[in-house]
Amino acid sequence: MRMKLENTLRDRQLASVGKLLAGYTHELKNHLAIINESSGLMADLLGMTESEDEQTRVRFKKIINTIGERIREANGMANHLNSFAHRMDTSLSSFNVNDLLIEELALIDRVARLKNIRLKVNLQDNIPPITNNPSLFQFIIFMIIQELTNSLAAGSVIEISSHINDQIIRVCLSSTEPLDTIPESPEPDNSDEVLQFVAAKMNIGLNRTPPGSDPYQIILTLPST
């Protein structure tokens, strides 16, 4: 009974984080929309103003273009964050693993870049949707990438790929360089235990190649529906 309550509490807590995050991204997009219209209006007015100072006009145009580019970039990030937040709405839904990977990797990319680790994405087209828990799927991907980025040296590459074969979808996270930084065993904390628990809860497979193997891989196996 207590365990059930704790699970419900955890689910609701997660859902509340999702709702807050979704609302926040909406507000963020409102601000971006206002900046966008204001800089657009500046560009319009600049285009109508006669000025002999062509050099200043060119500088203003360049600045306005930079604002526009940054708005597009920030808007893309806000969209990813919003979709990510909405994944917590339900514990069971139909989704495409590629969509969730793209969305999550866009958010994780900066964390990896700060450690000078590159995320290389190689997703097979036409992967069919699956029915499972989307936020747990993203959580497991996050845990694996965090484990790899914590273990790898600067300059390493993590390749994230998806494939389908015989109705089985495989999501593979692998690193080949530098091999000597791969830990002898999984993280000393209980993260592997947590990963296995989540995989069992989602009814998916989670396998690792032996430590030191080339490439070092963590593979998720998801039956398509």
Partner: protein, 127 residues
């Protein structure tokens, strides 16, 4: 060319006013209303738009509810929904309720004016 009359309904005053000014520079006649209630109250008395640009998420009445009421009383007016998150935020449902189109925020002015022209053409060609 006829002057196309637009009504922007958005609770974000700065957004509505900047967009209105940009559209006026492109020779549209533009009014703004900062809530669904204000828009509905003024339709047919203060505002006589050909096309309404309607924000989907507003505090007093949702754009979706405003759309339904507009279509009930003024079916000839075309409505373009402005939405932050497209299909996930009710953009596609609004099409089912009679919106002409939905446009994502931040707005690309060229896409928006193109859609306005299409909506106006649709309105004038309607029986």
């Amino acid at each position: 060319m006829d002057e196309i009359k637009l009504l922007i309904v958005d609770d974000e005053v700065e957004f509505a006013s900047a967009l209105a000014e940009r559209l006026e520079l492109r020779n549209y006649h533009v009014d703004t209303a900062n809530s669904g209630t204000e828009a509905l109250k003024g339709l047919g008395s203060t505002y006589f738009p050909d096309i309404i640009l309607l924000d989907l998420r507003m505090p007093d009445m949702s754009g979706f509810d405003v759309l339904v009421k507009i279509k009930e009383k003024h079916p000839a007016i075309e409505v373009i929904m402005l939405t932050g998150h497209g299909a996930s935020s009710g953009g596609s449902s609004s099409l089912e309720k009679g919106a002409f189109a939905f446009i994502m925020k931040p707005v690309n002015i060229c896409d928006l004016t193109k859609k306005i022209q299409e909506a106006y053409k649709n309105r004038t060609s309607a029986p």
